[in-house]
Symmetry: D2
Subunit: 440 residues, 4 copies
Amino acid sequence: MSTATQITATDTALSGEFVRVRHATEQLARPLNAEDMMLQSMPDASPAKWHLAHTTWFFETFILRQHLRGYRVFNDDFLRVFNSYYKQVGDHPNRAMRGLFSRPTLDEVVAYRQHVERGMAQLLQGEASAAAESLLTLGMNHEQQHQELMVTDIKHAFWSQPLQPAYHHQPRSRNKEQAIAASPGDCKWIPFRGGIHGIGFSGDGFCFDNETPQHQTLLRPFRLASRLVTNAEYLEFIRSGAYSEPSLWLSEGWDTIVREQWHAPLYWERDQADGWRVFTLHGWQPLDLAAPTCHISYFEADAFARWSGARLPLESEWEIAARERAVPIAGNFSESGLLHPRASGQGGALQQMYGDVWEWTASPYTAYPGFVQAAGAIGEYNGKFMCNQYVLRGGSCATPQSHIRASYRNFFPAHARWQFSGIRLASDGDTVRRNNDDER
Amino acid sequence: MSTATQITATDTALSGEFVRVRHATEQLARPLNAEDMMLQSMPDASPAKWHLAHTTWFFETFILRQHLRGYRVFNDDFLRVFNSYYKQVGDHPNRAMRGLFSRPTLDEVVAYRQHVERGMAQLLQGEASAAAESLLTLGMNHEQQHQELMVTDIKHAFWSQPLQPAYHHQPRSRNKEQAIAASPGDCKWIPFRGGIHGIGFSGDGFCFDNETPQHQTLLRPFRLASRLVTNAEYLEFIRSGAYSEPSLWLSEGWDTIVREQWHAPLYWERDQADGWRVFTLHGWQPLDLAAPTCHISYFEADAFARWSGARLPLESEWEIAARERAVPIAGNFSESGLLHPRASGQGGALQQMYGDVWEWTASPYTAYPGFVQAAGAIGEYNGKFMCNQYVLRGGSCATPQSHIRASYRNFFPAHARWQFSGIRLASDGDTVRRNNDDER
Amino acid sequence: MSTATQITATDTALSGEFVRVRHATEQLARPLNAEDMMLQSMPDASPAKWHLAHTTWFFETFILRQHLRGYRVFNDDFLRVFNSYYKQVGDHPNRAMRGLFSRPTLDEVVAYRQHVERGMAQLLQGEASAAAESLLTLGMNHEQQHQELMVTDIKHAFWSQPLQPAYHHQPRSRNKEQAIAASPGDCKWIPFRGGIHGIGFSGDGFCFDNETPQHQTLLRPFRLASRLVTNAEYLEFIRSGAYSEPSLWLSEGWDTIVREQWHAPLYWERDQADGWRVFTLHGWQPLDLAAPTCHISYFEADAFARWSGARLPLESEWEIAARERAVPIAGNFSESGLLHPRASGQGGALQQMYGDVWEWTASPYTAYPGFVQAAGAIGEYNGKFMCNQYVLRGGSCATPQSHIRASYRNFFPAHARWQFSGIRLASDGDTVRRNNDDER
Amino acid sequence: MSTATQITATDTALSGEFVRVRHATEQLARPLNAEDMMLQSMPDASPAKWHLAHTTWFFETFILRQHLRGYRVFNDDFLRVFNSYYKQVGDHPNRAMRGLFSRPTLDEVVAYRQHVERGMAQLLQGEASAAAESLLTLGMNHEQQHQELMVTDIKHAFWSQPLQPAYHHQPRSRNKEQAIAASPGDCKWIPFRGGIHGIGFSGDGFCFDNETPQHQTLLRPFRLASRLVTNAEYLEFIRSGAYSEPSLWLSEGWDTIVREQWHAPLYWERDQADGWRVFTLHGWQPLDLAAPTCHISYFEADAFARWSGARLPLESEWEIAARERAVPIAGNFSESGLLHPRASGQGGALQQMYGDVWEWTASPYTAYPGFVQAAGAIGEYNGKFMCNQYVLRGGSCATPQSHIRASYRNFFPAHARWQFSGIRLASDGDTVRRNNDDER
């Protein structure tokens, strides 16, 4: 699946970036065979082959068909088959049926990728319009989002089948991680002032429409935990009987854990000795107590915070904290190949803000004041999902490092657990009620 | 069903208010027979008999059992049977099964009401503690909420059965209403300044916990429509093909209208001459074009606003507007007996803010900054529902007038339509995009 | 609810019988109030009020409207509202919604019954045609079927609600029953010869179309158990672990017990001392070990038979046995008022063939060879249900004695448990495999 | 996927037959790639890869593990993974999840097949016990059943995906078929005498347990249609409005066609010119009016028969007719590679009894009198499915010719349509009611 050599003549930064993004997708697909790439283990997830094709469809539909004179569509049927949800582009298959696309074959999808990449190379060799360049940047960010989904979807699919195979057999430098993992730093409360702050994207680079417009928000003094909640802490929550204590839960959360019979995060399983093991992309592993908890729903994040005498941060608090402390965008991202969160190191006041796990916030996903949806099908990208979802911040171990930023808003429904989603606690600036230790 | 005479000796304001609230409930039940009071036409709704009993259970459980020395529980089984959702009080029946309570009979429920009212009279004749008085006020407000639900639930139940009976046969002063209805005032945009404003309850009277704490919020300049959206306007939206145009809808909204085959508000039906008739508590009536639209979901309110080139107000905008203009709490409430929204009159800049229909806001229902949930079962009243719901403001034609205030926050899921819920448009202060006339 | 006096002038047998049947229905409804008569605890069941009205609808629709000159329909709406499933008569409400008919009220339904009874009296005073008389007989038998359903439906409804009231508080002559119950006779195998036998209805009286035509069938020698399976025997089956042993079950049966979490017959519940109690129309009672097992599905009857090393009888075997031994139609029927099966007495070779519980047979419900469905809506009575149901024979404690006969074919789906349905074992004539005692 | 060469040394008939059966399976899989073999388009269907593995599992589990000394299991996990439903063998995956088995890969499944074939060759080179030989014959017949399912499952899966690929691109000798198809013979009634007849398997070869014991049955005189119902005739049924006329349908059938919105057989679709096209394993084809109707449910077969004034045959009638006329087992079977039914030729009184389409009978699938289920897991093969299914007779165009016989009983639930299932009419011997032409 190496298609990365088509674009060579042009030395623009954009075309180089395009090649890199496409290559990264293919790297992630490399451990998978054609059969693995068929898997759709739940309607929310999609097969890897579909991700490969749909990201290509995006470039063909929104850029090549509009902006490359003489472009010939690879296959007319694909215009419909690989549309995800853009109603203004036309009909699309039922999302739950994506696991039934044995055709086109993987080989044909690879050929589709190459065809579109040749078209893009041709476009970029000439003078691409500003509109095309803007869509190209959007398309690359779109593909990076699907890289992350490809990882989380395959994890769910591998876990769902009886042989539960590993995606990678050797976590990179695992011994080293473990050493670090043995002692995450103590958790401290980092205080922030209240007042009027600007949030939302500003600057020159790319952002999604949902990060705009940059605007002012009024906050009260608050405090953020210096690091993510660990598995050791979450285990304490479980052992306290939290999953059978309704007073800790949102009403819909309680109904969900009862109906779904949740007793622990997704991918946790008791092992023989009454300990826990977790399913990872490297197969089953013993639970690393120092690593941040992940694969939990908003309901569980919220209940954990309540049990802790704290709360989840607002998305504005998170963003302002990251800005004020000038937290560098560094950490455990998809490029490391680890694809699993690891324990925090010792340095830095505000650790693990980026990478490792997406951090659930208390903020429902809504339009920023003055938000204007783009015209046409591209306007369907974000706006129409602003309902019954919660914002997550900071990226995860499956997010490409170049994809994340302080103003980035991810969003999932409150019950979603198959993303690498975890918890950072917050509290009001003045007082913190608690039922645990002093230094959480 | 007259039980209002037990409390006589005491002339405290509270006990008078208690008698009035209880009496109002019974007045609403008066047109119903024992069979009508059994009806539960969907899991979200409850039988009228259940409402009669559950509101009584509230006083027994939270006040009499705690605060009246020597109180004897009416029937031990009722403590469980009429618990709605208070997990900390104990077990409760599955909500969807409330229509199966043929026992206790209505007569027994009436006796239960009288028993509890006697207990309350006894409590109020003595010196009730501040805690008891506070719970009494809460209990009366709780009962008022159930008065409204009793009305909307019975409307749904009467519509759901084949004979579709009327609750009232003669709308009061209907001719007069119609005359007014013929010409609602033009809709104007009322401008409001941005800046920091206080919202949330302040003052001496009662409020629910979700209205607190009073706090500051930062708004941009905005404008509110001077009146509610009318049926004539909504009909224009329908006729434009809105229900088959996905670009107008939130994604979840579109899925909902397709799955549920919604083509108009709840209770609308085409009549023979291709006009529309609507089911009301007075039976089927021709659609009153001048009356405010009601029985729509958040999805429909949101789509209508998008179609109009406007948006829904934030709950903070609504509250600040009501405060700034000192809008009096007057209008079409349950006391009128009309139980249907009516067209606005000519006077006043900001009309129909209170009564007629609950106004969907763009604000997800969340905790105010610093919100603290009460300890114990009473803490379950509001906080645990702060997820996947939207705030509505202003009360409706089924709300008791004494129940509503500027800071009042009602909430329902985005798909709910059986409440009297409608639309007031908002827009940003500076510019309004639109695709229609100038003077909406 | 006494309407039995209208018909007096005529002394024909038919009109007397009509009065008696109608009166029996009203007697069964007597312990119920208007609220009880609203209950529909599952889609398969119907409210008692609906039964009262639908049986009346049958006479109005098929007899009075066709055969009584000048008859005025009581209420045009009822023609649709109380149609059960006769597509050729017209539209009918969704069966699962019958619990929502608060209107017409019980009083109106009683008036409807009286109106139709007056019409029938008028018809019968004159010279009713043979067609009308035939339909009258069908209508009375139809009403008797609904008498039984009224009993089983109300039992399910009373059990489904939190207070689980009793229908009758005093079982009649319970002590006497108990005495008998203490020692049911041993179960013996009664042998029957094979060969060609006639089955199906023959003679002068009434039968349903599904009992015709009388025809010949070829049987092998077989043996029938002399009495019904008792609770003591069924308890042994439970205690052997049968509900967790898949090899005993039909595949669909196993899926059903796993999905529904069945561990015992319907209405059984463990009491404190690890014994069992059962819900009856007299409320909860200790399990009577000597009484016949009832409220089991075909799946359970079949699994019990397999576990016993026996099998269920064919319907033809049952009918031929009843005929050959000239078993009298006597026993525990609805007229006794007991409404619960009781232990067999000592006399007679083939006990409990009639009454007590319907006996599941191994015979799918199919058309007899040469079966001809009646023309028109009446043809919908039986034929269209000949699919995925099993035949039961012999009547139950909720069946009127005058309603049953040797050729009578009742039928329910394999999972149905809310009827009084039990087990009589059969085996091949020559050999019986068994894993238990010698004298089963 | 050629694994057919391992078994060479032995020239026993059995080993040759084993090689042929295995080879036939692989031939059917040849047009499929690894991705196609992943498809499970509904819970009733299974992926081709699963069929390849499960048939192999059968030989390993029931023969090699029991009867080949020193046999080493290929992979312990497969014992569970490829168990279909044999509870006595142990746990098995949920049937609806078979589409999630990306592992083992197709290559591993092929290696599994080869491993087991080597084991079988070894066993057959020695002296296999009678028990082993008997199980081998069962295993081959089991594999032939899965060959047919593989064909029907892949047809459904190909139709379910957006590109709807063809399995074969060139039907063999299609022109020749078409010529024949142009004029199917007139349909005639072939009369048969009533009386006692023997049915069930007798003789030396293999049969399934459900065909035993051979026994006598009593029939009335009957007539069978000389050929299958054609698409032309079924189209007449559709055009008469049958799909909107409830009186033609079983009650459960009517509910099914309304709920599923069936208006024609599965795989039929209106083309532009208001004609019909059908999806076949060769892709979409114009409807061949002369070919037999297939892909219909029992409900549709039954309704068509009722509409025709005829009925479906009993399974005993079908078998006796095939025996009496000594109908040769010849016709359109899977070996032809056509994999689609074709019009009947001119010769022979009783045409198309074998091959083309399975013929729905009016007989529920029950145990023959005296049927004894085999001990152990093999006993689960047939007996536990004897509930809520109907018998089909005669084999189809997807059945191997060597697999079918007069006593063969296939069975499916009444709603199943994805098999090649069609209609042969029957009627009582004396009279035929009809509403159409004289010569049906």
